[in-house]
C-alpha cells in the first residue's frame, strides 16, 4: 500500500514537472521580465563551466540507467532509461539558439530523472528491507 502511494505521488510530481515545461514556455512567451531574465541567465549558464560540460552529465545518466536495467529489469528502471534517453536526445537535438527555454527544459527533465532515481532507490531499499 505504502509503496503504491509513493509510486503514485512521485509519478504525479513528474507529470506536474512535464506540465511545468508548458508553463515556463508560456511565461517566456508572454511575460517580459521572465523572458529577459531567462535570456540573460541562459547566456550566463552557457558560458559557465557547467554549461560547457553539461553534455557529459546525460551520458553518465544514460550509462547509469543502462547499468540499473542490466542489474534488474523492472518497469521503473525501464522508465528511467527512457527519461535518460529523452534527456540526452533533447540536449543534442535542441539548442539555446533554437529554443530560448532550452536550459529550463534541461533542468526540468533532470529533476524528473532524479525523482525516478529516488523512486528506484526507495523501492530497492524496500525490497532489501
Amino acid at each position: 500500500m505504502m509503496r503504491k502511494l509513493i509510486y503514485l505521488i512521485i509519478h504525479l510530481l513528474q507529470l506536474g514537472l512535464v506540465y511545468g515545461i508548458y508553463v515556463v514556455n508560456d511565461l517566456y512567451a508572454n511575460h517580459l521580465g521572465f523572458m529577459r531574465n531567462t535570456s540573460f541567465f541562459s547566456e550566463e549558464f552557457a558560458q559557465s563551466w557547467l554549461g560547457r560540460y553539461l553534455v557529459v552529465l546525460p551520458i553518465v545518466m544514460l550509462l547509469l540507467s543502462i547499468f540499473l536495467v542490466w542489474r534488474e529489469r523492472t518497469k521503473e528502471r525501464y522508465l528511467l532509461l527512457i527519461i535518460a534517453a529523452i534527456w540526452l536526445s533533447w540536449l543534442y537535438s535542441a539548442s539555446l539558439q533554437l529554443v530560448p527555454i532550452y536550459y529550463l527544459v534541461v533542468a526540468i527533465i533532470f529533476v524528473i530523472l532524479l525523482l525516478q532515481l529516488l523512486l528506484i532507490g526507495l523501492v530497492g531499499r524496500k525490497n532489501r528491507g
Binding site: 505504502m2 505521488i9 508572454n30 511575460h31 523572458m35 529577459r36 531574465n37 535570456s39 540573460f40
Partner: protein, 347 residues
Amino acid sequence: MDKKNKRILAVITSILAAFILMVGLNTNQVQAKASTTSQRLVKNNKPGENDFFVSAKWVQNQLKTNKKTVVIEASYGPGKEYKKAHLPGAVHMDTMEIETEANNWNILPAATCEKAFLKKGVTKDTPVIIYSSDINAASRVAFVAYWLGVDQVKILDGGFNAWQSAKYTTAKGNVKPKAAKDFKGNVPGRPDILISTSADLLAAQKKNPDLVLASTRSWAEFTGKTSGYSYIKDKGEPKGAVYAKASKTSADVAYLTNSDGTVKDPTKIFADWKKWGITPDKEVAFYCGTGWRAATAFFITKQSGWKNVKMFDGGWYDWDKAHQKHPSQYPVQVGDPRDKSKVKILD
C-alpha cells in the same frame, strides 16, 4: 507502516501539498479606485494638438469619426491578453518588433521600426492610438511612432482598464492589420528626441554641457542600492544624473500614475523635480533601465509643454555595459549625488 516509511510519506505529502498550493494559488486582483478628474493630467475630452494622453471617451469618438485611425495594443509577446479582449479593430504590436536583446534592448533602427508600423497600416499621416495594460509599454511603442514621425500619436489614458470601466464594447480574437506600403516621409521624422546609446549621450552632453540627465528609476536604483534588474549586475547611475521621482520599483511609474492607471496631474511631481534642476526651460534627457519608464515621463512632460525633452534610450543597461569596457569614459556614481561624502564615483 514502520517509522521510516511514515517519515518518507510525510516529506512527500508536504512537497506535494506545497506544489498544489503554488499551482492553485490565485492572487486576488485588488480593484483600483477610480481617480477624480482633478487628480489627472487628462482633464477633458478635447485634447490639444500637443496632448498625447487621451480619455476613453475621446478614443470612442475618434473611432466613430475618423475611420483612418489605427488602434494598437502594445505588449510583449504574441498578444495572449489582447486576443481575449481588445478595443474594436485594434491590432496587436509585440514590443519585440521594436527592440531586441541583441540591440541592448534599445530601439531598433528606424527602417526596421518603419516596417513594423507599416505592417500595422501606419503611415506618417495615420492617426494612431496606442494602449496597453502597462502604461510604459504603450509609451514605449508610442515613442517609436512619434520618433518615426507619425503626425498624430495618442495614448489611451488608463489603458484597457479605462476602456472597460467606461463600458465601451470590446472585441475578441486577432485582427489582421491592413498593411501600408509607403510611410510618406523620411524616418526618423523626429530624430532629435532620441539619444540612443551611451556614446550618443556623451556627444549630446558635449554639444550642450547643461543637458540635464534625469533618471526616472526608483530611489533604491538611483542611489545604487539595487540594479533594479536581475539581468543587470551592477548598481549605480551615469555620473551627473539627477533624480526624477517617478518609480517605486523597476517595473512601474507609480509616482506618475493614479491607482487606476491614469496619469497623475504632474504639478506636485514637477515641483519635486525642480529641486533636482529638472525644469521645462532646460534640455532634459530622461532615462531608466531600458527605456520604458522614461518614455512615459517623456510624454507627460511633452504634454505639459516642455519643449526640449529627449529620451536616453540606452539607459542604465547600456551605460553599465559601456562603463565595463571604458570606465573612465563612462563614469558611474553610486549614492546620493547631493552629498559628496555619500557618493562614490567609479571611473
